[in-house]
């Protein structure tokens, strides 16, 4: 029996078929072993599409040294951030809900059919039973293909592809679930923003317990997001899942709780920008829309960082503003302490302070402090102007994108 751990290992290995990342890449004829069960797998088919970033791998188990072509697992790779094509595919395939020719979804279906035919040819024409797996975008593709072909799928942190499924696939899936069967299983870490970004149609998602306050990527990372028991089953399944707010708050509280007030509005602003029909509808349809989105997020992040500097400057000003008070408090404290000695009179203390010019007015250049305060104010104003400028640039970019979209008739 193929365990969840085996599926996760196969979902991880498919990334190695990318010739731009591995030299040489994993190819047909290669073998690997799943660590949980020690099961050996033979790679029987791979495919890559440099245009849209697609990568697929089909494997069969090796039993007693002989490939068993009666059962096959088809695996799909997720996003490779180094490939611009892959990023566009993420937007087109997942956000844009597109599965037409030229998309990764179309390639995934075609790849599975080819792999199945190849295995059947090697097994006297008998087609194998097929299951699919994948991580992230690969998980999305794995579930889509499984539903369309009526197979089983075990995915990890993948957005559920319900809205991309054909009416027939939806009907089949619904009937299966109503019959108490769940052909699609999507293990999603409760704090993963990618797997949790899409509605949990038909209870496909099995939420997995996560450890709070870890790096954002660790919740999505195939190696870090899941733990397995000795039987190869996922540990911590069955938690109820988190709301978007809880997920975002966990990410914000990790490293920058003090900046949460700054980052949450920045992210909210980005989401609001995407809610603008001019932007939202172009995402996934036009590259310009994609670039605007990228720039929006980048600009908002930059704006957050810049505003963070203002926070530090405010802290300097706050300390400076309290200098006189702090020095006076120190002097008063010292004078009180000296008064504890029975042979020292209050007059002695005042004379000493006067003689040695210990008063605050002698030791604090208030004009200099005021000048620092003025400079800090100046800098804060500059920062806000810069931040506002970034916001304006984003607005212009969105407006420009709207014009391009209309000019090209893309929407």
């Amino acid at each position: 029996m193929t365990t969840a751990y085996d599926f996760k290992s196969i979902a991880g290995e498919v990334y190695a078929v990318d010739p731009l990342k591995k030299t040489p890449p994993l190819a047909a004829g290669a073998t690997f072993k799943a660590p949980a069960t020690g099961q050996e797998y033979l790679v029987v088919h791979t495919a890559t599409n440099p245009v849209n970033g697609f990568q697929g791998m089909a494997v069969v188990p090796v039993v007693n040294g002989v490939p068993d072509y009666s059962q096959m697992i088809v695996s799909y790779a997720g996003t490779n951030p180094d490939h611009r094509a892959d990023l566009i595919a993420d937007v087109v395939t997942v956000v844009g809900l597109k599965s037409g020719p030229g998309t990764q979804a179309a390639d995934a279906l075609s790849f599975a059919d080819q792999a199945r035919a190849k295995a059947a040819k090697r097994d006297g024409g008998v087609p194998p039973s097929v299951s699919t797996t994948g991580h992230s975008l690969g998980g999305y593709l794995a579930m889509l293909v499984a539903a369309e072909r009526r197979w089983q799928s075990t995915a990890f942190n993948g957005p559920v592809p319900w809205e991309d499924l054909s009416p027939e696939a939806k009907a089949w899936l619904k009937a299966e679930v109503e019959a108490g069967r769940f052909p699609l299983t999507d293990y999603v870490n409760e704090y993963d923003i990618v797997g949790n970004s899409v509605f949990n149609w038909l209870g496909t998602i099995v939420h997995v317990r996560g450890t709070p306050l870890k790096d954002v990527l660790s919740y999505h990372d195939l190696e870090d997001a899941f733990e397995f028991d000795g039987d190869g089953a996922v540990v911590g399944v069955g938690v109820p899942g988190r709301t978007d707010q809880e997920i975002l708050a966990n990410l914000m509280d990790k490293d920058a709780p003090a900046l949460s007030w700054l980052l949450v509005p920045a992210l909210a602003a980005t989401m609001n920008a995407l809610r603008d029909p001019a932007v939202g509808s172009t995402v996934g349809m036009l590259v310009s829309g994609l670039i605007v989105t990228v720039d929006t997020v980048a600009a908002m992040s930059m704006s957050s960082t810049v505003l963070g500097a203002a926070d530090s400057l405010r802290a300097i000003k706050s300390i400076n503003a309290g200098l006189e008070e702090q020095l006076q408090a120190g002097l008063t404290g010292a004078m009180s302490a000296v008064n504890l000695f029975p042979f020292v009179t209050e007059r002695d203390v005042l004379e000493c302070v006067e003689t040695h010019k210990l008063e605050v007015r002698h030791n604090l250049d208030l004009a200099a402090v005021a000048e620092v305060g003025r400079l800090v104010d100046d800098h804060i104003e500059t920062i806000f102007r810069l931040s506002a400028g970034i916001g304006q640039a984003v607005s212009h970019a969105i407006a420009q994108d709207r014009q391009w979209a209309q000019a090209y008739g893309g929407r």
Binding site: S9, G12, Y15, A16, K21, K22, L26, A30, T31, F32, K33, A34, P35, A77, G78, T79, N80, P81, H83, D90, V91, L97, H135, S136, F182, I193, V194, N196, S197, F199, N200, G203, V206, H207, D215, V216, L217, H220, A225, V237, G238, G241, T243, D244, M252, D255, A256, L259, L263, L267, M271, L274, R275, G284, L290, V294, V297, A298, S301, S304
Partner: protein, 141 residues
């Protein structure tokens, strides 16, 4: 089956926007080699130092797991990387078994590539030389 539930806090319209946001964040990461979430950069690319440490780690795992005394060398042919967003780290290497070279991709949990000669039952590890991607060598025994 455990953990199944219908619906959730998200609505389809809002979640599409949320996906866009998430992927846009990933895209920023892709363009800059890092992502900006949580107020700091989170690098996808490891440093050379980390990659070399990972090479040593996976070399030792492979050496112990494969446990073939005919294995004499592991030579890393690249520094190693995470070949996808959230993908496991791995590196290309040529391993020498019985004088013959095999192209393998070595990861912390899974290693695979050219089919390797099966070690004899009960065989134990032997000394090997590991050549890292920066040209340094280490004798492991």
């Amino acid at each position: 089956m455990v953990g199944r539930r219908y619906g959730g806090a998200n609505t389809p319209a809002a979640t599409r926007l949320f996906v866009a946001l998430v992927i846009a964040c990933a895209i920023v990461g892709g363009q800059a080699g890092c992502s900006l979430i949580g107020g700091r950069t989170v690098s996808q690319d490891e440093t050379t130092e980390t990659n070399l440490a990972n090479q040593r780690k996976v070399a030792l795992i492979f050496w112990r797991d494969y446990a073939n005394p005919a294995l004499t060398n592991i030579r890393f042919t690249d520094e190693g990387n995470k070949p996808g967003f959230g993908a496991p780290w791995s590196a290309n290497a040529v391993v020498t078994v019985g004088g013959q070279g095999f192209n393998e991709i070595l990861g912390a949990e899974v290693w695979g590539g050219d089919p390797l000669p099966a070690p004899a039952h009960g065989s134990t590890v032997g000394p090997i030389t590991v050549t890292y991607s920066d040209g340094t060598q280490e004798l492991v025994q």
